[in-house]
Amino acid sequence: MADTLTALAEAIRAAAADGRPLRIRGGGTKDFYGQSLHGEILDTRGCAGIVAYDPTELVVTVRAGTPLADLEAALREKRQMLAFEPPHFAQSGSGGATVGGAVAAGLSGPRRAAAGAVRDFVLGVRLLDGRGQDLAFGGQVMKNVAGYDVSRVMAGALGTLGVIVEVSLKVLPVPVAEATLKFEMPEDKALEAVNRWAGRPLPISAIAYTDGDLGVRLSGAAAAVRAAQEKLGGTLVEAERATRFWDGIREQSDPFFAGEEPLWRLSVPSATPPLGLEGRQLVEWGGALRWLKSNAEARTVRDAAARAGGHATLFRGGDKSVGVFHPLAPAVATIHRRLKAEFDPRGVLNRGRMYPDF
C-alpha cells in the first residue's frame, strides 16, 4: 500500500512537472459521466482494502481502489450498509465500481431523499493533491469542525481537486423490515402524494414514478413498516421482485433507461409540478429527481430545471458540447477556478472532467 501510494504521488508529481493531464480511474464504470476525459490513466485499484471497520463505531475507513461490491459485502455481514445506496453501474465499465470512484462521482441512489447523499456520509478523506502531497481532512468521528470541511467537497468533485486514496464513511444498520407498495395515479397526483407523505412521520425510504405507476419503499422497524402499509394502502409487491425493481432504478438497468435518447438528470425542489418536457420521465427522491429520456433541446431542458429552482445534467449520451453540467453563476464559477488553482495549480487532475475551463 505504501508503495502504491508513493507510486501514485510520484506519477502526479511527474505529470505536474510537465503539465501533463492525468485521468484518475478505478473500475471505469463512470467513464461515461462528466464533460470529457483527458490524459494518461492513473489507476487507483492498487490502493485497496478496508483499513478499519468496527460496526459499533458506525464508521468504515477504506482505501479508494477497493471494489464497492467488496465493501458492501463486508458491511452486509455485520447487517450494516451505505445508506446513500451509491450506484455501481457495473455494466458500464470493464471492472467493478470502486469506493473512490463512487465518492468522487458523488452519485446517490433511491434512499437519498430519506437518508442523505454521499456527502452526508463522508467523515474524512485522505487525498493526493495536484502537487502529489498526501493530505488528510476530517476524520473517523461523527462530528468534526476542525478546519474547513474539505472532505465533503471531494464527494462529487469528480477528482478535479485531488485523488482520493482513503475515505471514512458513516454506515448505518440495515433496516429490519422492508415493504414495497405500488399505486396507480397520474403524475400530478403522484407528486402531490409523495410530498404530502414525506411531511408525515412515515418510514418511506424511496419512491419511483413512471408512466402512471408509483412505487413506494418502506424501511424500518417491523411495527413501523406494518403501520405505514395500513395507512398508505396500495398493492404490496412480492419481496424478490421489489428488490429487483429498486436495483434496476439504482443501477439504471430498469427498462426505462434503455433506448438511444440522451438521458437528462433534473434536480429540482421536490414539490415542483410536472415539468411537461417532451420524452419519457422517471421520478425519484420524493419528486426532487427527474430522469428524462428525451431529444429535447438542451436549452429547453436547462431552462425548465432552472425555472423550478434546480439544475439539469446531461447524464448519458447526447451531444456533450452543450455542456454536461449546468452553468455556474459567475461569482461561484470564480470560486471554483480559484479552488482548482489552489489544489491543483498545474491543472493535472481530471482536467475538463467537470467544466471545460478547469
Binding site: L58, G106, R119, G139, V141, A157, A221, A223, S267
Partner: protein, 494 residues
C-alpha cells in the same frame, strides 16, 4: 482578556463610520464604547476586545454595502449572530467592523409541502421550529443554546445538538445558503433541490466560522415531528460499563434519536438546579431516546432496555409522558448553566473521539483531575463520541487558570492521539487555534489557507480565527518544547 489589548485608531474609526453612515441609518452604526461594549466577546468571555465599529445592517443591500465599503477600505469584517459561540469565533477586532445580524431576523417563508423554511441569518434556531410546528414539522439540529443562538451562527459553526446521531448536524439540514463575498458579490451555495452543480460549496461554507462569506439567507430542511418520543434514563455504577452499553446499543442495530451520558458530578450539579429526577447514586447515567410511530417506539424501547440490562444497568426509568421526557432532557440541556452555579468559572471542552475509547478517555480525565487538582464534571453526546468535560476553576486565581489551560491542552491532545478531533461542534475560533497545529500538518493547514484565498483573497473575513498561520504554529511548537512550562504562565491562553 488579551494582555496587550490592541488600541482603536480613532481617525480610521471616523473614516469607516463616515462611509457606513452614507447608506446605513445612524442607529445602525455603533462606535461609542458604551454602545460597542456588549459586542466585546461571545460565549467565550475569557477573550474580550472592543470592535472598532459595529454595523447592524437591516437588509441584504445594507450587508452588501458594508462589505463593499470594508473591502474598499481593507477593513476586516467579523460577522456575529447571537454571540453564544463557545470558541471565540465572533471575537471582534480593534481594526475591524463587527457585522451583527440582529436586524436580519425575519422568517421569509415556511413551505409545509416542500418541507423547508427560508429565513434570515438572525432568526433563532428555536424560532424556526416554532414556526414549523403548526404543520407538524420541525428543524432538527438542537444545540443547547437553541433558545438564543441564530441560524446564521449555526451555519458558521456547523452546530450540533443532542439528536445529531440520527438527524445530523447543521451541514446535513441546510439546503441553501445565500450571502455575499467580501467583495460584495452575491453568492448562492447549495440549492432548494437536493444538490447543486459544481463543487459542494454549501458543505465548505457550513462550519467555516464566517471566514468565507457572509450569510444573508438560509433555507433549512424541516422534518416531520415524530408522533411519539420516549427516553430511558439508565444508571451505571461504572464508567466503562456505560461506555460498553453505548456500543452495545449500536451493535444491536439501533440508532437512538439521542444518546447522552453524564457523570455523577454533572448529575449532582444539574439536579440541584433543575430537579430532573436524576439518580444521584449512579456513577454515570445514560439518556437514550427513541422516536417514531407509537408502535416503533414501544418496540425499540423494549429492545434498548434488554441491551442496557445486559450491559449492567443498575436502574432504569422510562419517561411515561411528554412532560417527564422534557424533564429528563431539561437536566442535560441545563448542564452548562448548572455547572456555572457551582464554580466561579468553567472551561468547556469539545473533543470528539471514537466511541470505543470513551472509557479510556474518562479514566484519563480522572487522572488529570488529580494531576492538576481541579474538578471536571463530564457531559457527553455519547452517541457520536462528542465530549464536553467541564473544568471548574476560579479565573481570579492565576495558578488555577494556568492549571486549567494545561489540563485542557492535555485532554485535547489525547483526543487527537486516540483518533479524534479537538472540536466536534463548538468550532476552533480563537480558542483551539494552537491545537490545530497538532491536528493538521503544515501542508494541510496550507490547503485550508488555499480554501480561504479562493473565497476571500484579501483575507478580510474574520481573520486570525480557525486556521493558524505557520508563524503561529512555529511559536506554539516552541512553546511546547518547554514541555508543560509555557512562557508567561500568568497569561490566560484560551
Amino acid at each position: 482578556m488579551n494582555v496587550a489589548v490592541p488600541k482603536i485608531d480613532f481617525l480610521r474609526q471616523a473614516e469607516v463610520v463616515g462611509r457606513l453612515k452614507a447608506r446605513l441609518p445612524e442607529s445602525s452604526v455603533l462606535f461609542q464604547t458604551e454602545d460597542t461594549r456588549p459586542y466585546e466577546c461571545d460565549g467565550l468571555s475569557a477573550y474580550r476586545q472592543l470592535p472598532m465599529v459595529v454595523a447592524l445592517p437591516a437588509t441584504d443591500e445594507e450587508v452588501q454595502f458594508v462589505l463593499r465599503t470594508c473591502h474598499a477600505l481593507k477593513v476586516p469584517v467579523i460577522a456575529r449572530g447571537a454571540g453564544t459561540g463557545l470558541s471565540g469565533g465572533a471575537l471582534p477586532s480593534a481594526e475591524g467592523v463587527l457585522l451583527a445580524t440582529a436586524k436580519l431576523m425575519r422568517i421569509l417563508a415556511v413551505d409545509p409541502v416542500a418541507r423547508s423554511a427560508r429565513v434570515q441569518p438572525g432568526v433563532r434556531n428555536l424560532a424556526i421550529t416554532d414556526a414549523a410546528a403548526p404543520y407538524g414539522l420541525y428543524y432538527a439540529p438542537d444545540p443547547s443554546s437553541q433558545i438564543a443562538c441564530t441560524i446564521g451562527g449555526n451555519v458558521a459553526e456547523n452546530a450540533g445538538g443532542v439528536h445529531c446521531l440520527k438527524y445530523g448536524l447543521t451541514v446535513n439540514n441546510v439546503m441553501r445558503v445565500r450571502g455575499y463575498t467580501i467583495e460584495g458579490e452575491p453568492v448562492e451555495f447549495g440549492s432548494e433541490a437536493l444538490d447543486a452543480p459544481g463543487f459542494d460549496l454549501a458543505a465548505l461554507v457550513t462550519g467555516s466560522e464566517g471566514m468565507l462569506a457572509v450569510t444573508t439567507e438560509v433555507t433549512v430542511k424541516l422534518v416531520p415531528k415524530p408522533e411519539r418520543a420516549r427516553v430511558i434514563m439508565a444508571s451505571f455504577d461504572d464508567v466503562e460499563k456505560a461506555g460498553d452499553a453505548v456500543a452495545a446499543i449500536i451493535a444491536a442495530g439501533i440508532i437512538p434519536a439521542g444518546l447522552e451520558m453524564m457523570d455523577q458530578p454533572a448529575t449532582r450539579a444539574v439536579e440541584e438546579f433543575v430537579h430532573a429526577g436524576y439518580d444521584l447514586d449512579a456513577k454515570v447515567i445514560l439518556l437514550c431516546e427513541s422516536d417514531g410511530t407509537p408502535e416503533e417506539v414501544e418496540e425499540e424501547i423494549a429492545r434498548i432496555q434488554v441491551v442496557l440490562e445486559r450491559a449492567g444497568a443498575t436502574a432504569m426509568r422510562v419517561s411515561r409522558d411528554e412532560p417527564e421526557r422534557l424533564k429528563f432532557w431539561a437536566g442535560r440541556k441545563a448542564a452548562f448553566p448548572a455547572v456555572g452555579r457551582i464554580s466561579p468559572d468553567y472551561y468547556c471542552m469539545d473533543g470528539t473521539i471514537p466511541r470505543k475509547r470513551l472509557g479510556e478517555m474518562l479514566n484519563f480525565i480522572a487522572a488529570m483531575e488529580k494531576k492538576y487538582r481541579l474538578r471536571c464534571p463530564n457531559v457527553f453526546h455519547a452517541g457520536d463520541g462528542n465530549l464536553h468535560p467541564l473544568i471548574l476553576f476560579d479565573a481570579n486565581d492565576p495558578d488555577e487558570l494556568h492549571r486549567t489551560e494545561q489540563f485542557a491542552s492535555e485532554v485535547l491532545r489525547k483526543c487527537i492521539e486516540v483518533g479524534g478531533t479537538v472540536t466536534g461542534e463548538h468550532g476552533v475560533g480563537i480558542e483551539k487555534i494552537n491545537e490545530m497545529c497538532v491536528q493538521f500538518s503544515p501542508a494541510e493547514l496550507e490547503a485550508f489557507r488555499g480554501v480561504k484565498r479562493a473565497f476571500d483573497p484579501a483575507g478580510l473575513l474574520n481573520p486570525a480565527k480557525n486556521i493558524p498561520t505557520l508563524h503561529r504554529c512555529a511559536e506554539f511548537g516552541k512553546m511546547r518544547v518547554h514541555a508543560g512550562q509555557l512562557p508567561h504562565p500568568e497569561l490566560p491562553r484560551f
